[in-house]
Amino acid sequence: MVDPANTPLGRMLLEEITPVVMVLRTPLVEEACLKNGLTLVQMLKPFCVFNNIDVPVRTASDQPYRLQKFGLRLFYELDIRQPNLEVAKERLKQVINQAADKDLSELCSDLPQIDNALSISESEVLPSWFQFFNKELVHSVSFSDHEAFDHPVACLVVVSSKDDQPINRFVDLFNTKKLPSLLTNGAMDPKILKHYLLVHDKQDGPLEKATKILTEMRSTFGSDCQLLCINSSQDGVVEHQDYPWVLYKFEDLPSQPLRCFLNVEDFNEIKDLMQDLSTKHIIPYMEQKIRLLNQQVAATRKGFRNQIKNLWWRKGKDDVVDSPSGPTYTFNSIESQIRVLGDYAFMLRDYELALSNYRLISTDYKLDKAWKRYAGVQEMMGLAYFMSDQSRKDAEYCMENAFTTYLKVAPSSQQNATRCGLWWVEMLKARHQYKEAATVYFRVCTEEPLYSAVMLEQASYCYLLSRPPMLHKYGFHLVLSGDRYKKSDQVKHAIRTYRGAMSVYTGTTWSHIKDHVHFHIGQWYALLGLYDLAANHVMEVLACGHQSKKTQELFLRDFLQIVQKTGKTFEVSELQLPEINISSLRVIFEDHRTYASSAAASVKERIWVSLEEEMIPNLSTARTNWLELQSKLIPKKYKESNVCVAGEAVRVDIELKNPLQIPLPLSSVSLLCELSAVSDEMKSDASSSLVEIQDGESTSLIHRDVNFESSLFSLSDVDFSLAGGEKIVVQLTVTPRVEGILQIVGVKWKLSGSVVGFHKFDTNPMKKISRNRIQKAKHPHCDNLKFVVVKSVPKLEGVIHPLPKRAYTGDLRHLVLELKNKSEFAVKNLKMKISHPRFLNLGKRESLNLEFPACLEKKSSDQSAEHANLNDVSHALFLFPEDTIIHGETPLLWPLWFRAAVPGNISLYITIYYEMSDISSTMRFRTLRMHYNLQVLPSLDVSFLISPCPSRLQEFLVRMDVVNKTSSESFQIHQLSSVGNQWEISLLQPLIRGKSSTSEDEKSSHPRLQGTHLRLGTQGNNGPCFDIASSPLADFHLSERLYQEVLNKGDTNPVDFILISRPLKNDINPEVSEPPRLFSHHACHCSTATTSPISWLVDGPRTLYHNFSASFCEINLSMTICNTSHHVDYKSIPVESVSPFIWSGSSSTRVHLDPMSRTEIPLQVCVFSPGTYDLSSYVLHWNLLLSNDQENRDRSSSGTCQGYPYYLTVLQSD
């Protein structure tokens, strides 16, 4: 524990609670002093503090002690009164204003860091003006009549030697009515120690006159007279090295070097004078007074008897006036005397004595309900406890008591309460109880916002200094303080406190608080006219999605206003409005791969690669080819870069999100790019290159506007408005115009037409990973946003029209592929590949202008030459004729056939490969990739059921089930065709059910798509049959065959059907003239086979007459067995006979049947009576003879067949 006297509070008390000396002087004295620029009091003041006075003092006790430090306070008689409140307020305000101006430079610096604040010491944390402010605040309640330590102890009467009749002047000075009210109204003893001083200005004349007056004075007033010579410097101005007044910061001291006529002799003389005054006059006087008063007090109040008496006497004063100030006590009342005794003892450092007297008086005041005096005494008790380093608890208790009592008494004592609080705070601080100190500061706060602001700020520093630091409260109190500063128009202070608070809140997630602080700092900076700083702070709160809509609007509006006031284009890196979703960044560029649409560009690269596999000559060799070429053009280090073609746009897709609920108008959204052009001469080394950088600097922006045409690249601008919470993917393009290296740096936009924001695409490795994740799949070589721009090469553009977005299954259409080449160089060697040949097929060039569907109709003259070549459909690579060259204005048109094969969502991928006719170009070939999505809806569901016809061998019954699965469409069935010459289809009856009887012909080695057609549908609507053997239908049929072959495999004799239907004319909308449409449904590989590999037929008479009376009837039948499988079969036919007829002849027969052969077996049955017989009671057993390697897992190797019913009627003949 440090000595209490060395604590800040101790020093303050030693300075503040010292004897007051009232100074009375004549105007001439003042005049003499003012020659030095100082008043008399100012001149004497530096010599009133004695650090080593070493005076023996003896107060009430007999033991003397030595006083080391001592001081005097000098005041003119006019200043010894309670300061005017208004004046004091004005003074305090001035102090604060001055402090604010001093700190202005700091306000513009960076935000303070909380770590710094924690590491520096107390004196650095606290602004120095706090101490000064607190002192001023304490002074504002001096010279109160309830406290004796401000009452003058002595009076210094000063007269100049130039005055007329100096003796009379001395008397006059003291007798004037100007004496302070304290002396006149009886609050203090008017008989105080007087000391007479004659001031002689040496410039006015020799000393003799003065000494004469002095002797005269001595004879009149006694020994308390002295002579002071000043201005003894003869040769004018003297510059003093250690100028004693510099240490004293008089607020009204002129700052210029003073014209000083005082020399060292004068200094010493003044010093001696003051020391003499205190040691020889004031201190002995006080000692004497203390002893005197002590005796009186002891006589009247000490001792048991006196106490009883006092108590009784006070009890009797029931009619005491309960006024706030309590009863008035004159100087000769015992209460006042005790107080004076205590205060004198305090001033002479006899804290024990002071304390005992304070204790004594405090009970009296309490009983008298003189609350203000009581509080004052309590306050002094607390200080005495502190100074004597006694019980801390008591000291704090007394201070608290005093504080609350002051507050309780009246608003008039508010100032006293403040002073008491400040002392209390200092006391706590001295003991490092910062937390408690802070609460006291908090309690000191009054309604006056300015004082509260200062107090709260001091409280906040206490929280910072407490161990461990309480940062949350530090921030909170700073914010409170800032608010109050703002209320009292101290904007600079408000900013300072808020900045301090910001150091607490940065890095936390308390976004509402952070927004509040940032926003207000910004606003206040704007008030000061520091718009740049203001904008920086308000910018922090822009992305406030968590705030209410109203607040968001307010923030944005204020931001824009501030930006407007800055008067220039405000450019902000990483502006938070709108949010840039960097992971959504996608770069789409075209090297040898070009895309017909953006949809095609977004398809995964591997789909294209697998599609193009056979088409591109050899990827690796091709690549090295043009890389070799590249290496001539570009430095090696760019080899890894992507390649793009001059004149072709590189597109960047990026997602922008509006985090707010209010719409954001964005304009001029564009990319930031750099392009270093490689001039032709520099191709070999590329060491010097012309670089054009378009970044966010305003100069280059202007540059861009002026010579936009001659610019090395052009950018696309997008203007749009983002609604609240909306996300938009913007497509930005950059089109390089010359060869070189293109680097996409970032994206730039303009918010609300005034603020330019830009965001640089970070190319650090971490970001790269996230981007690669998306891009790697698409472009394996895309590592960065750097492109090598190569010379312009031809590029094909392709479109298919009119490809429908949705179609019904089976829909057959005629489309046109249009290919355009805008450059003057021709392209050749076109190849095309389609991912789904079932859906899309290339037609013949001749069929381009044919009318659909008339072109499909069967011509009467059947030309076999037109039949499609069946071999080249299996893979969908289509080679355009050699002479197909596209160049210039004329587009290439090519017919395409489309058929919606199966229902579902289908993605069609088409790539077209082409080569440059210009050999010198950097790229030898390019591919055009097209992608279409279409939805195919189910329409007719066709299924066939084929069963062997029991009555005839090698004829089958075909049942076709057609289900319309659409909800609104109607279809008219037009035609059913069976494909191939092997089958023939015919109607069973003119009914809906169709019967096809087919006869097997000899196999044709070369299958052709010929067949029989069956016209179905109503009679009235008969059109011509469609030729299923001609190009589109045949091609699609083959595709279907290929596809469906996979599904049902291994049938021996399959049959294919094609059902052609047309949509029924729309009754609801007859006006809409739709082009005639066709639907074709292909059912392939319909199985004709049954479970057994054999078929048989029993042939014989059905009805016959026989005379049973003569003999039994013998009937000859024959059975034809046919082996329908391809395998070598062995069959045994056991025939069992059951009554009432018997099988005669051999009861069991074994036959060996070669594949695809038939045999006939004679059968005989005997019947004994007339009737109808079912001859089905026979069984066929068959066994497959599996040849060497033919494993047939689908079918069992043996089986049994029950006989067919065969009804035989035998009648009795006459």
């Binding site: 309480m470 940062l471 949350h472 409260k473 909170f476 914010v479 936390t508 509402h512 608080i513 509040h516």
Partner: protein, 143 residues
Amino acid sequence: MIVCVAVVGHQNNPLYIQSFTDADDSLKLRHIVHCSLDVVDERVNNPKKSGPTLNETFLGLLYPTENYKVYGYLTNTKVKFILVTTDLDVKDADVRNFFRRFHAAYVDAISNPFHEPGKKITSKTFAERVSTIVKSFGMSSTR
């Protein structure tokens, strides 16, 4: 009446803060909650003071301001619950009871597999449950 409840994560980051006043003083309440964290830290870091109640989650009255009383509660995962009330005579038992129910609601809310630990609690169910608890607190204290 309870004017504000808050859940504060172990890094003193706000997870949930809800005020129940009509007036526009949410900022003030946020400040109060933020500022009371100091006292929570102090109580947590001074085990001497809470010697007998070592495993006690209820931290008691943190911070009496002029108009409010602030109570605190600390879970085992160092998540703090802060309650700001305008009732100047509140029974400790009531507050304890409140915090117990609040804790249960919180545990249920963060048990949601879709809740990211350390992120703000956005569950509507939690908010509804909290407001019922808050309302019932008012009921019991007036009785």
